[in-house]
Subunit: 423 residues, 2 copies
């Protein structure tokens, strides 16, 4: 590879708002999206909320001349809604489905049924290995009383872990998607601190979008205020994040968003704005890892965010335990009530009422049993994530207390580069 | 690192048969297991079927002087049953829960409730990065009519993918566990072909165990023939598999198993035999990848096993689709019946019977709905695995048709080493 090597990467990301029958003007929006993607010919187009596989197949057919490679990430009952179109061949692909993703009985929210996931594509571009991740985390339905906060933090941790463990040989890492988190939210900070990914919006030399940064939802669109959900206009929840390793440097030349219209000035492509980033990858000498080279352990941002996440997941765990205890009581009382009904049915006094109440009571016990099992599993998932966080917290503290030059500091993000240099 | 570098690794693996209250002599067996592990002081002890976290905590306490690092992999309703004890510090850890793992309504088999998973530990030993995986796949309850075959093949594929994507920077890869597959079973071949892992039993220079290889269950043990399950004595389902990359070579010096007794000649430690392997890691020049350097594409073992797995998962998919159709009909008929009951309840003729039948009918529709959703999710998982297999099949064919020397051949296992050489 030549020393003046430079690779340009044009990336498109959009949450498509593609709920069949419910999302407005879906067919028209998908048609215009396809036309736009064909016209622009990005290197990669990463889409979220393409809930229907038929819509993916429509786009695949429409885009196949410009984007010969495409993949739809299937999971859950409905599907993850994630898909990708690439101008370059996809070498490898896999996905990870988040173990915590809301509650099946919150049917009106529906996230549980989607099987929210992160998809990974490995591309080889001009001799570089590019790991591209696309994801969509659990929605935030109320910022004031966010019952899914702990689940979203756990998802952010799983996402960070998946990226960390699957990208060790990648030269460039790219993550696009709808994180459903504000830039300073715990999950977002955890993800960035643990993986070292940088935010295109904060790093770009040239941003073109609305004044407040970019809007999550088009300001001047045909969706009503009610459709906008709890997010005020001007809050970022869609991201392009990136990182280069092993002697490369990546920068965001331009980041452009739609601003309440489709790119040609018509009605919007979705209830989210599209992101269009132009990235450049160049050779660079290895950089020190900023998380590990300054300040004592207790003050480091990584240690602090790991501890914060551990605490937040602890609150989620308490809630999950409360539910297992509550449903446990309901099951016990239900079984006692069933016993009482048996006694009554054997007698004469309230035989008919007892028989009539038998089936609903059995139903109650079964439903409570299912909810009990669900929350028992939830406690296992929280405990699993907390154990991993605790382990890494201990390791991060050890590494930092021993100083940046000592061997244990190697195991947090920096070790690969250092080992490569040693060999 | 010196050219005559050599690392000895002593590994212990056992499926502990640790069902609280049901497994015989559990407390006594765990005590003797702890004593034995302390006495032998292996580098790593990997255990399956430690279903109770209390049992793990008991072992952790007992083993802490010899094995300061330990981890219990939590998942599902019950837990994965996997745990590990290590003489060396664990640098990083994570896990992947299999997306297909039996059926929740097969309560008497119970695998679904366990959340079967693969756990990963990253260790740094004498400057080497060692990725250790421990897993336990879905049980086989009947070899003649194995309704879980497609799920187990899907698990083997997910395991292979997880190892492939998380071990790209590892120098040595080690997989131990109960795969619930015979050595020549499809899932086992798929795993070995895709990851390049080698079987310690076939590779060792010195095997010490029973004559038929090693037995899955002790021949002379206190469990009855009924406890043995469908496996005849002499069938291997527990494995130690390994691989070295990036210029290292690993060999199995000795593989020893228990032979129907505990190592000191007493009653067995479990209903499985323990495996004890002594492995040596040395420097070595890069080896060619045997899967890719001989024969035309159609005859290659990798292409053939990928195609076989794709077909097997297709059969699983047909079965899952049959269930969604069947439960779809049950739901429709149930709803029609409910409508009929409403009409009858409104009239006079069969009012009481209609009211009495209402709740069980609602229950039937709900249960059918839950089973429908479960199998719909199952179809998504099968489709996901098949899409990945199809993608890799296409890539493997492309690579092999273009010959071992051409660039596209690089992306199947060999690419990392070749890239490292180029740079």
């Amino acid at each position: 590879m030549k020393p003046n090597f430079s690779l340009r990467l044009r990336v498109f990301n959009l949450n498509c708002w593609g709920i069949p029958y419910l999302s407005k003007h879906l067919a028209d929006r998908l048609k215009r999206l396809g036309d736009f993607l064909n016209m622009e010919s990005f290197d990669l187009a990463l889409l979220e909320e393409v809930w229907s596989e038929q819509d993916f197949q429509y786009l695949r057919q429409k885009l196949s001349p410009t984007y010969p490679a495409a993949h739809y990430f299937r999971s859950g009952v409905i599907g993850s809604g994630l898909c990708v179109f690439s101008k370059h061949p996809i070498q490898e692909l896999t996905q990870h489905v988040y173990t915590l993703n809301g509650y099946p009985y919150m049917i009106h929210h529906g996230d549980w049924f989607c099987g929210k996931a992160v998809g990974l594509l490995v591309l080889h571009l001009s001799g570089l290995v590019l790991n591209t991740y696309v994801t969509h985390l659990h929605a935030e339905y109320s910022r004031q009383k966010d019952i899914y906060l702990a689940h979203r933090v756990a998802q952010a941790w799983e996402l960070a872990q998946f990226i960390h463990h699957t990208s060790k040989k990648a030269d460039v890492i790219l993550l696009c998607g709808d994180l459903n988190m504000h830039p300073k939210d715990l999950g977002c900070r955890l993800l960035k601190e643990w993986t070292g990914l940088r935010d295109a919006f904060l790093e770009t030399q040239d941003f073109e979008g609305s004044e407040e940064g970019y809007t999550m939802v088009p300001k001047n669109c045909y969706v009503s205020q009610q459709d906008l959900g709890p997010f005020p206009v001007g809050i970022r929840i869609d991201y392009v994040l990136y990182k280069a390793v092993s002697g490369f440097y990546i920068s965001c030349k331009t980041l452009k968003t739609t601003t309440g219209h489709d790119p040609s000035g018509g009605t919007p492509l979705s209830d989210h704005e599209a992101l269009m980033a132009t990235l450049y990858v160049r050779h660079s000498p290895p950089q020190p890892n900023p998380s590990l080279t300054h300040g004592p352990a207790e003050r480091s941002p990584l240690v602090s965010v790991l501890r914060e996440a551990w605490t937040e997941l602890g609150l989620g765990l308490v809630q999950a335990c409360w539910w297992t205890t509550f449903t446990g009581y309901v099951i016990s009382l239900g079984l006692l009530f069933l016993l009482l009904l048996c006694v009554l049915a054997a007698g004469e006094g309230a035989k008919e009422a007892a028989i009539l109440l038998w089936t609903p009571s059995v139903g109650l016990v079964l439903v409570a049993g299912a909810i009990y099992l669900f929350h028992l599993q939830e406690t296992k998932c929280f405990n699993k994530a907390r154990a991993e966080l605790q382990h890494m917290l201990r390791k991060a503290r050890e590494a930092q207390n021993l100083g940046p030059e000592s061997p244990p500091a190697l195991h947090l993000g920096q070790q690969e580069r250092d080992r490569a240099e040693e060999q």
